[in-house]
Symmetry: C2
Subunit: 135 residues, 2 copies
């Protein structure tokens, strides 16, 4: 997979006098079964997250509150995305190095994941990742 | 199912100098496959959500930001839960009428759902629900 497979996905939103509701269906708005979710919150000013890649895991990131930026690198190309609206998510296929940064105060990042947790699925060393995907 | 099957579920949290990360695995922390997610945000002051029950759908609610209260009713008994920490969720089996209210400013409620959307799965009339489940 490559950066060409990354995409920003608009999500349905239903807004009325009560507020807003957005939703997504597994297999429709995200192209995988949701085996795991995780979320980042209470992020300290100036702190970054991510800094790894996955061998098989696909992810979908949604800024449920606030905003942040995502720098992606497929080993050959880089691209940056700003996530700043809860009715839009970012699909990340496997094999992409991701850095999350520039979190706003009170930002909440929800991530949907296609696989259960497995430490073996991680590249945590950029040079190792680059050697495989940059070739 | 009944209120006896409702439960508050503590979720793992990993906190360090960067902030906090919580996660859950489908089939482990929630007893169902996650077919759908939805989330409530931008909730206007004094507004309520919910006010329905489901025939088959199981749900898991997490306050990703702020707080709110959930009043549950299985047709025979009622109970109220305060959701105010992102590392704790509320499991709701099918057959429970739910009202969400007293949202704090900037509250975000994430819901994980066991089924794809189906309007036929809803009870939107309390008397109809009560006639079936209160008997």
């Amino acid at each position: 997979m490559s950066l060409d497979d990354v995409r920003l996905v608009p999500l349905p939103v239903r807004s009325d006098e009560r507020g807003s509701l957005s939703f997504l269906e597994a297999g429709e708005h995200v192209p995988f079964e949701i085996k795991r979710i995780f979320y980042l919150y209470g992020i300290a000013p100036g702190q970054n997250r991510g800094a790894h890649a996955h061998r098989e895991l696909q992810q979908f990131l949604i800024p449920l509150a606030g905003s942040f930026e995502v720098r992606l690198d497929d080993g050959r190309k880089k691209a940056t995305f700003t996530l700043d609206r809860p009715d839009q998510g970012l699909y990340m296929p496997a094999g992409i190095w991701g850095d999350l940064y520039n979190f706003s105060k009170d930002a909440v990042c929800l991530a949907l994941a296609s696989l259960h947790y497995s430490e073996e699925d991680y590249y945590r060393n950029y040079d190792e990742f680059k050697a495989v995907y940059g070739a």
